[in-house]
């Protein structure tokens, strides 16, 4: 049986999670991504033991983890199994999941661990019905999600891509199945042209996994404002709340340039926290130039203005940065006397929230506004969405791999029936998203395009 992997803990708030992997080759996959502290060989590790080490991607350390080993047949699924206890939160967990997938594991289907447990004789008869219920309920959810996605852009785009390949495949197959007819021979140049077009589309799609990206990487958030506007105080308020994703565990050093907080289960990545913290030293003086840089990198800008003072030229430069960006304007220090003329800020047509970093008034409104802006509740309302996105991303990646193989066969001068084999693989792979099969589609296309037969 193949090796399957999934995030076993519910996504959303909560810093610790488990990635679970099962299958004959699961330790082989683990070996490629887990650098264990004592470098023990898998043969020397007993079942029911826990090992400490780092999850790595090539040389880059992704997270510090504990891995529990279960050796067949003494595991939940009766197969070789491991559980990676990550404390990196959803962002890191998704990275680890991606790594497992990239190294040979397949994404588990709904209820698959339990299904395997049953098929391998682990669970008794009375529990079998429960397994069926799990499969059905999860499948209903998946179905709901895929129906939602089918209505949207994704399926339309996939369909455009499939149609392109089906069309060229029909050209090829027609010349194969009807060699006597004077059909135009499909040239390699033609196929390459289509493959290039498809690659661009697939690439866009890979990039456009907006929700997936947000869940994996967080919303890049910039806090900007002139010196002493209250950036540092705001950051402290935010990070001292429960929503902060705590990653500091003894013995770990964390990059302090970024911090994560959770808003409605979705991570907000606050960038350049170092710059904010050093509020009183030289760095801060660089001011607006620095603000410009981080504003450009961000998905959203939180611009903070001190209304206890009059707005100055620096404030105006900050305002200019907000054009054409997602932005929220914070009017800070409402606990003090208001001196600023906010009419200029109102003209920018961005949401304005009055806050006080001192009394914490208005902070909740900030979260509400961000959540509204990115529809975070929708993104996070169902954990399956993450899985289903990871699945789709995987499909897109596999399709691109097959696309590359198709190009290779063309470059190697392989005959057309072999090239066609890879084209079929791409369509089949993409069909997993839309749920359609290849053969009938290609045959239908052949007969709608060409006039063939006795």
């Amino acid at each position: 049986m193949s090796t399957i992997v999934a995030i076993s803990t519910a996504p959303g708030i909560g810093g610790i999670g488990i990635i679970r992997m099962s299958g004959e080759d699961c330790f082989l996959v683990l070996d490629k991504i887990f650098k264990q502290k004592h470098n023990q060989k898998i043969e020397d590790i007993k079942g029911y033991t826990i090992k400490y080490g780092n999850i790595i991607n090539n040389d880059e350390i992704i997270d510090e983890v504990l891995v529990s080993y279960f050796k067949a047949p003494n595991s939940y699924t009766v197969e070789n199994m491991c559980e990676i206890n990550s404390h990196g939160g959803i962002v890191i967990m998704n990275k680890i999941l991606d790594l497992c997938l990239a190294n040979g594991a397949e994404l588990a289907e709904p209820g698959e661990f339990t299904k395997r447990a049953f098929l391998n004789g682990r669970i008794d008869l009375s529990q079998a019905e429960a397994v069926i219920d799990i499969i059905n309920s999860k499948t209903d959810k998946e179905a709901k999600i895929s129906i939602d996605q089918l209505k949207g852009n994704l399926s339309e785009k996939i369909e455009i891509i499939r149609r392109k390949i089906i069309s060229i495949m029909a050209d090829i197959e027609a010349t194969i199945d009807y060699p006597e007819y004077d059909l135009e021979e499909v040239t390699n140049a033609n196929i390459l042209k289509i493959l290039d077009e498809v690659d661009i589309l697939l690439n866009e799609l890979e990039k456009s996994f907006y929700n997936g990206k947000i869940l994996r990487e967080g919303i890049s958030t910039a806090i900007i404002g002139r010196p002493n506007a209250g950036k540092s105080s705001l950051l402290n308020v935010i990070l001292n709340e429960e929503r902060a994703i705590v990653t500091d565990i003894e013995g770990t050093t964390r990059d302090s340039i970024e911090e994560f907080i959770s808003v409605d289960g979705v991570p907000l990545k606050i960038i350049d926290t170092a710059g904010i913290r050093n509020a009183n030293d030289e760095v801060e003086k660089i001011g607006v130039k620095k603000a410009k840089e981080i504003a450009e990198k961000s998905d959203i800008i939180i611009a903070i203005f001190d209304i206890s003072r009059e707005l100055n030229s620096e404030d105006e430069e900050i305002m200019e940065l907000l054009n054409n960006k997602n932005a929220i304007i914070l009017l800070n220090k409402i606990d003090l006397n208001k001196k600023a003329d906010v009419s200029k800020l109102e003209k920018i047509e961005k949401p304005i929230i009055e806050i006080s970093t001192k009394t914490k008034e208005g902070i909740d409104k900030l979260y509400e506004e961000i959540s509204k802006m990115f529809k975070l509740k929708e993104i996070a309302n169902d954990g399956e969405l993450i899985v289903s996105n990871a699945r789709h991303k995987n499909i897109i990646i596999n399709s691109r791999k097959n696309l590359e193989k198709a190009r290779d066969t063309i470059r190697e001068g392989m005959p057309i029936d072999i090239i066609s084999t890879y084209l079929k693989e791409i369509i089949e792979e993409l069909g997993k998203i839309t749920g359609e099969t290849v053969t009938e589609d290609v045959i239908a296309e052949i007969f709608s395009k060409f006039c063939l037969g006795k």
Partner: protein, 627 residues
């Protein structure tokens, strides 16, 4: 008056391509076999194209031969032209195609049947089949002869309630003026078998002497082509050419002006016609902007002047046909010997069949060929062979022979028709085979001879010869993989001359052969100790080495496919009682009764989740039995 005509093992109804294979297989396997035909003059008839093979159909013929069928040998003896198609398009799709001498093909097959022990050829129309306790019991002819039989194979082609349409004229008839079979169709219906109405058609035949070939392009045969049968040797014979001409705007004008006289467009024909076999009026209507259509002129035989006009099938009235045929270059003065016609016939809904081709609900009743909703002689023949084998297996109490989608095109075909209810006649195509890099025409013997031998249709002698060939292939591949070519000046000069890069270290011949610039034949020059081998052995070795990576890839895919294919489903499962499978899937599974979990997964309306539940159910049952 009815009379008792005796007891037999197997009765085959219809002596077309399916019936002949079925009867030969069963009699060769020692069964007392009856073969009925309404007219013994139409045995193994080709009422449409006078050719055998072509893409994917050529594959089928070779598979039939490897299993011990007759079609390959029969066409080898009677062909008047042969070609290998698609040679530039890759090893998986090379396809043999031969023009047959139609009458000789028939006579040859008839004689083979007559000479066969255990085979009893009868001219009679079957009008009734009786069933007792869900099993076939007797079969009755139009003259009242009642035969007691153990199994029946229905291979009636397009004869069941056949109805011919030519313009405003229509009449009940089978092809070529042979009468249609009407009572049998009603009998099948009374047995509860679901029938559907299909349509096909054929073009006119024209006297060769009225054709001006100087206005057409010639298409010659090729010499030195391996024959269809793995047992036959390449033979030299005088090849008769085919010819190519085109329709033009005038042809299309005549068709458009007379569409209202077409029974199809006037709504008289109710049957569904195939997309891949459109009439000329269909082509003109559906592809209105196409300026011309290719028309092939093929000889029907040596001892006849009749020519077959491929691409001009039609159901327009005869006068319109003559006018439109005469617009074609070379056919200006053509004389019809037979007009084109459309034919409607009853076929069964093939999802009522098991993969063994036995009816799910009636034990011992098999169906093969065009009655199963397929089209084509080769498609029919391979089903006849499988039905014949399985009728015998049934009598012997053995498991049926079921080829899967990774074994053979035959497996793809049967799996397709029993899992998908097709809305039109089914034609084999290479694009239907998922593992076509493995299912090549050149390796049909490697794939299937063993099976044919186990069944009993391949003689020990032939099997021995096959093992020798197999050994030669294996040894030669091994030799090429282990023999080094040294980077000498002479060898590198050879490589440069053939447009490929030089070598700096010793290189295995197999690795050189993988280069697209080089062939096995070219490498002879630097491959000094090469053994003398048969052409077919060389072809196999070359393909297996050149495309090794791709072949391995498909073998991997097959491994995955086989896992679910090997999980067999008991016939008595009541899917409606399996909680957790969706209602639609339960109904489909109960209707199709798939033989394996793999086959179940291919039925439309059965989702992967349903399959998961099914697997759990099977496990549950297994444990309950044990516990």
């Amino acid at each position: 008056m009815k009379y008792d005509a005796g007891e037999y093992d197997v009765a085959v109804i219809g002596a077309g391509h399916a019936g002949c294979e079925a009867a030969l297989a069963s009699s060769r396997l020692g069964m007392k076999t009856l073969l009925f035909s309404i007219s013994l003059e139409c045995i193994a008839n080709m009422p449409c194209n006078p050719h055998i093979g072509g893409t994917s159909k050529g594959h089928l013929v070779r598979e039939i031969d490897a299993l011990g069928g007759e079609m390959g040998k029969n066409i080898d003896k009677t062909m008047i032209q042969i070609r290998m198609l698609n040679t530039s398009k890759g090893p998986a799709v090379h396809s043999l195609r031969a023009q047959a001498d139609r009458k000789k093909y028939q006579m040859e097959m008839k004689h083979t049947l007559e000479k066969q022990d255990n085979l009893f050829l009868k001219q009679a129309e079957i009008v009734d089949i009786t069933i007792e306790d869900g099993k076939v019991e007797t079969i009755e002819t139009n003259l009242g002869a009642i035969y007691h039989v153990k199994t029946i194979i229905v291979a009636t082609g397009t004869y069941l309630k056949g109805k011919i349409f030519i313009g405003e004229n229509s009449y009940e008839s089978g092809p070529d003026g042979v009468s249609a079979a009407k009572p049998l169709s009603d009998c099948l219906k009374s047995l509860g078998i679901e029938l559907q109405r299909f349509k096909t058609g054929t073009p006119a035949r024209i006297n060769r002497r009225s054709i001006d070939f100087s206005k057409m392009e010639i298409q010659e045969g090729e010499n030195d082509i391996v024959p269809f049968s793995f047992e036959d040797k390449t033979r030299e014979f005088e090849q008769i050419p085919c010819w190519l001409t085109y329709t033009n705007e005038k042809t299309h004008e005549i068709i458009r002006a007379n569409l209202h006289r077409s029974p199809l467009y006037a709504g008289l024909i109710e049957g569904t016609g195939p997309r891949y076999c459109p009439s000329i009026e269909d082509k003109v209507v559906r592809f209105a902007d196409k300026e011309r259509h290719q028309i092939f002129v093929e000889p029907v035989g040596i001892d006849t002047e009749e020519m077959y006009i491929q691409g001009m099938s039609s159901s327009l009235p005869e006068d319109v046909q003559i006018a439109m045929y005469r617009t074609l270059p070379g056919l200006e003065n053509c004389e019809f010997t037979r007009p084109a016609y459309a034919i409607e016939y009853d076929a069964i809904e093939p999802s009522q069949l098991k993969s063994s081709l036995e009816l799910k609900n009636i034990s011992g009743l098999f169906f093969a060929g065009q009655i199963n909703g397929t089209s084509g002689y080769e498609e029919a023949a391979c089903q006849g062979l499988i039905a014949g084998i399985n009728a015998v297996q049934k009598i012997k109490g053995k498991d049926p022979l079921i080829l899967d989608r990774s074994d053979a095109y035959i497996g793809v075909l049967i799996d397709d028709i029993v899992t998908k209810s097709t809305a039109e006649p089914y034609r084999m195509m290479t694009s239907r085979a998922e593992y076509r890099l493995l299912l090549r025409q050149d390796n049909a013997d490697l794939r299937l001879t063993e099976i044919g031998h186990n069944i009993g249709l391949i003689s020990d002698e032939r099997y021995e010869r096959f093992l020798v060939k197999k050994k030669q292939i294996d040894e030669e591949i091994e030799r090429l993989r282990t023999t080094n070519i040294k980077p000498t000046d002479k060898n590198n000069k050879f490589l440069v001359e053939h447009g490929t890069s030089t070598i700096t270290a010793g290189t295995k011949i197999a690795d050189l052969l993988k280069r697209t610039e080089l062939t096995y034949e070219m490498l002879r020059e630097i491959d000094i100790n090469r053994p003398e081998l048969d052409k077919q052995v060389i072809e196999e070795v070359e393909v297996m080495i050149k495309y090794e990576g791709y072949i391995e890839m498909q073998k991997k895919q097959v491994e995955g496919f086989k896992k679910l294919e090997k999980r067999l489903l008991p016939e008595d499962i009541d899917y409606s009682k399996i909680k957790g499978i969706r209602l639609e899937a339960r109904q489909k599974l109960n209707k199709f009764k798939p033989y394996s979990v793999g086959q179940a997964s291919r039925i439309s309306g059965v989702s992967p989740a349903d399959i998961s539940v099914l697997l759990i159910y099977l496990e549950q049952k297994k444990k309950a039995k044990k516990g």
